[in-house]
Symmetry: C2
Subunit: 110 residues, 2 copies
């Protein structure tokens, strides 16, 4: 199985590395080939290639071969899942926060 269903776990692990987040940020303006991405980073091109593979496997990037180059672009699908998870967590955190605030008010009514 060369293309298993990408788990959201993979997306979190992929975004954990600062170099990979730098690649993501670099791609926000539009698709770029590997060589240009590697030119802006202090690591070797193969290292960039490995990071791009991790991001692609996580479903965060898409590849488009164009001649001898390969253009990487952002893939919105996985980002939508992450947003949904974070929004749910945010809601629960706010509920817990509000409940705690009521407790505090209860303890010192004055």
């Amino acid at each position: 199985m060369t293309d298993p269903i990408p788990q959201p776990d993979a997306a979190f692990a992929a975004l954990a590395d600062p170099t990979r987040r730098a690649l993501i940020d670099r791609l926000r303006a539009g698709p770029l080939p590997v060589g240009r991405l590697a030119a802006d980073l202090p690591i070797s091109r193969p290292a960039v290639s490995q990071h791009l593979r991790v991001l692609s496997d996580a479903g965060l990037l898409e590849v488009e071969p164009q001649g001898t180059r390969r253009l990487y672009r952002l893939a919105p699908d996985r980002l939508r899942e992450l947003r949904a998870w974070l929004d749910g967590l945010w809601g629960d955190a706010m509920d817990s926060f509000a409940a705690r605030a009521r407790e505090i008010a209860q303890e010192s009514p004055k």
Copy 2:
């Protein structure tokens, strides 16, 4: 410096570990002491303690000592930052996606 400013980097790294995300999910219903969190996981209590420390240092959890126990709860502040980052990334990804769609339409107008 015992309490440096928590970087958003730390939040991403903290959320990368599946055990730590399990702890987060467990705390969505409300605050819990360390012992109860450790009882639900297949790892030792010291390991849970270490994970809770990572999450706290990242600004994702707050601690409230209560007698001999320590209650951990979700901290909304850092979650808001993550939401903001993800929303911005989502917007750029959608723009790039729309631009690509226009290119495709241009290539095959029929």
